[in-house]
Symmetry: D2
Amino acid sequence: MNGPLRVGVIGLGFFGTRHARIYAAHPAAELVAVCDPDPARRDAVRAGTGARALEDLRSLLDMPEVDAVSICLPDRLHEEAAVAAAEAGKSILLEKPLAHTADAAGRIVAAVERYGVRLMVGHILRFDPRYVQTYLAADPERLGQPIHLRARRHGIRATARRLGTASSILFYMGVHDVDALQWIGRSRIARVYAQKREVLGTGNEDALYAIVTFENGAMGCLDYSWAWPDGLMNGFRSSLEIVGTRAAAYLDCADQGFYAIDDAGTTGGDTHLWPEINGRIAGDLADELDHFITACRSGAPFIQHHREAFDAIPVLDALAESARVGQPVEVRR
Amino acid sequence: MNGPLRVGVIGLGFFGTRHARIYAAHPAAELVAVCDPDPARRDAVRAGTGARALEDLRSLLDMPEVDAVSICLPDRLHEEAAVAAAEAGKSILLEKPLAHTADAAGRIVAAVERYGVRLMVGHILRFDPRYVQTYLAADPERLGQPIHLRARRHGIRATARRLGTASSILFYMGVHDVDALQWIGRSRIARVYAQKREVLGTGNEDALYAIVTFENGAMGCLDYSWAWPDGLMNGFRSSLEIVGTRAAAYLDCADQGFYAIDDAGTTGGDTHLWPEINGRIAGDLADELDHFITACRSGAPFIQHHREAFDAIPVLDALAESARVGQPVEVRR
Amino acid sequence: MNGPLRVGVIGLGFFGTRHARIYAAHPAAELVAVCDPDPARRDAVRAGTGARALEDLRSLLDMPEVDAVSICLPDRLHEEAAVAAAEAGKSILLEKPLAHTADAAGRIVAAVERYGVRLMVGHILRFDPRYVQTYLAADPERLGQPIHLRARRHGIRATARRLGTASSILFYMGVHDVDALQWIGRSRIARVYAQKREVLGTGNEDALYAIVTFENGAMGCLDYSWAWPDGLMNGFRSSLEIVGTRAAAYLDCADQGFYAIDDAGTTGGDTHLWPEINGRIAGDLADELDHFITACRSGAPFIQHHREAFDAIPVLDALAESARVGQPVEVRR
Amino acid sequence: MNGPLRVGVIGLGFFGTRHARIYAAHPAAELVAVCDPDPARRDAVRAGTGARALEDLRSLLDMPEVDAVSICLPDRLHEEAAVAAAEAGKSILLEKPLAHTADAAGRIVAAVERYGVRLMVGHILRFDPRYVQTYLAADPERLGQPIHLRARRHGIRATARRLGTASSILFYMGVHDVDALQWIGRSRIARVYAQKREVLGTGNEDALYAIVTFENGAMGCLDYSWAWPDGLMNGFRSSLEIVGTRAAAYLDCADQGFYAIDDAGTTGGDTHLWPEINGRIAGDLADELDHFITACRSGAPFIQHHREAFDAIPVLDALAESARVGQPVEVRR
């Protein structure tokens, strides 16, 4: 492709507005259109980017001048939008997770493969230097055989309240770490045991702990919570570690290197995910979209095949089932 | 008691030599005797403290001028020594864990109660400011109802190799965190699910993960490893967190506040457990022994009743059983 | 001395009440008397410890059954109390700084030496494991020749406001780090350049920066502030580093390993200086007083001779003068 | 400009090879040519990027199809290359510092303005999220009036040895923080006092400390060292803090969030400056070059005018003079 990638953004919530801004500022992309049912959101993005702003995703997908779309909708609307985008022949960047159930994910994959379109899942951790360096440090030549791995992702209860029943701890947060563990551990999760709690009444799980077994024998732990009081420094905490027979590596995203202090307290900020630098969104999300644009234009493969992204979904289903039945569960693939 | 507490130390390994030094320096204690089968160890402690150094624990227990003993033996020798000390009418400070099985622990408790002696278990975390402050922050008035708790304790593989089959990850390290979770969470563990791995061939487990359920409904996670490469900064990492309906608290012992750098790398040191200050052992271990001495002399209760210390043992047994059978297990008390 | 050290505490502010509690709980000390002009403070300590509570320091010094005193008064009252205590033949633990000027310090030292009493200055960092380990790591055998050293001590403006003109940044905070640099660097400061600022109107300096030169040629930096907004995590920050020709070491007291979170924010706590453990004050301050008691009873020398403690005072004077005249100043000893 | 920016890179050392890779991968840039006297370096970049590789910078500047150049030479060669590039009418990205003396910098600025070309100085911290967020937090509306500021930059002695007399601690490292302090403090430095040490014999200063006064009255501290032993975790440490009458902010780059452990020790990595993500250089340096490309193509101003970048140079000169004469020195602008 010689010209810019012409992109549409479907859904203008937290992530959609960021996708739109990043595309609009990218020299090899052109933000052609956006869509959202909320007129205020549409007006805001149109004013900021000059893109055409539509109410309905079908109108956007009908535009022949749109080469590619970012789908940034609530989990439960992913399937309809992704299947329609595949039918319309668009390249797709699908914000995680693929879908809200393994069945829906399977139908998305089937549509993508039937219509021969390209699909990249927004697994942003694959673009985070801390996760990438841990992946490199976990190379079997350096690490030896993995013995145990652990990943955690904790957030504040305000997030759980805001999402309510529109998402779940596993599909909203958990998919990141299931994908990261399988990627960094170089093996798929075969068996899981999970427990969860729901006390706060946010409409969501408060926390979920799981112990998992990988196909290569390694043992893993998943540790999710969005029950933290809203005053948690930086609003979230994530980490990952892997210990092998020869070496080990870990990452910890608690420290962002920046602190602001006033009489009320000490707060931080995001310096990795999508920090704003001189009026432009930088960081992991910008690098993720840059990769999508570059690979779409050159025809090179995405760094993660959509089938590998799909490998996280059956694990989420097994975790949910184990938490429900109180027993270990095999992952069905 | 008006005079000093006259103490004997049984076993002169890593902990025993430290107990001996602390007693010898304490103004309200007198280190009367020590015993160990190894003559080199005996000679070293005799030279450093002036205490009488015996080969056999029976000789030590036969000394009427010994009021109290510290038992610092390998786990599997606790029962014999503790029962004999109880028969001899001595006050006992028993380095953790109480014993290597729940049955042995039960026999120790029975002997202690039959002979009417005092027993304190060396749960050092009860004297660590970070754990104590987390305990205070987890007061139900501040925290509300506990939702989820997690504790971890990670060490280097050199430790596992050194101990070999003389101990186990649960009894050597795990007992600390089981006790800490039950103490800080104000509830006992009722049900556990555990998995472990043994790849390194140290004669010990490499790692054990567990998810536990408390009697009050809270959910817990235990995360043990001594599979880390020996170059792990400070040689160990432990942490604990508790999230409640109103507030949360956590502690992290990774940072010791001290760093030494040469051309080969950056290393740390211990500034909390048993740091040496001006030729004297200070920190948590010194505070623990000070409490033992003070309470023995005054007759005041120990901060932890031996029955509460005993509450950790059946959990260890359940964790081991669950790891063996691959299913959740109820704790039998 | 066979019996306990019989102690009086002069001044019952923040430090005096802590001294009183520590003496009252120490098995080798007996808190005989305290004094303070404020009846409420006297009553509180009498109720908590059973000590005799006097209004006037002369009455306390007249008690023949008092062997030793802690002087915990505002800086400007140190001279009168210390000289009187020396005349009365008491062993003295003088909370830092020795005095509020070099001249006053000189008169205290003269009195101590004239009357042949013992004097220990409350340089608490000499009992902090992080500073002690940095001192050990800076041994010339390990470190080589010191190249550069830096120490900082930052606090919140609420402290500066509370003290007002009763103290100064140099005498209240600065003395700690001047002593620490000379101790850890194994050399005395010979020349200083300092600048300060007073903008907040607390009655105190907001901040003072200084560059110093040691007798052995090493270069140092001092970095003091109590201008931080009151929401600074843990309320203070201190650190020290030393880089030598062979190795280097540093300490950082920012992290206390403990965090409490509620909806308003994340706060910490003190786990080193004077944490309360099971109803008893532990940590650096308790270890400092234990050393005072032990050395007074045994007759052994204090870990720091009072003349070495005195070496910090002329540096404080030189720093103040340099900040006033805007030029480098030689330290007059 | 509709087509890509056609760029040449002058000098293929550590920074030049990174510039070349970033341009080669950027969708709006075309790496046309590179030059370096070393044939091995030329061959490596030609093989990796397909760019024309020249021996001499004049040949590169003579190419009419080159729109812009990155100058990545040793400090002392900046003047000749930058003046020649200005004469040749190229847009210039000049790796810091502008030049090795204030006079040379003045001649560069004169040439740039005489020939009407664009000049951006490679002040990478202006693209680092931690510095940018500190800049935003130091907005006078939030911070009030600045009271005191401090910046530090510490590296290992291997760097000082490698550079030898080709650079100096002030021009290689110091310029970053002088620019950052003036930028974040919103005021220029008017007066300086500096001391330095040279003990290690690397051909460079080991360390330099300075106290500075800003035009708005704020007080600053600069703290430079490249005397650290080579085993310093991550190889460098930088931080910056600013305390104002209403609020404060700080950044600390010590923690990179990533750790690798083997039996020999714990090491880290760079996750902010120029981390490699999926075969592509990301982070601050990539964002800096993206800004250069974008602004050159659109004609928009750079985020920092070259005259503001120039403001750091007279401060470096004053610091060097003060360190030489041992007295405070006014900055001559």
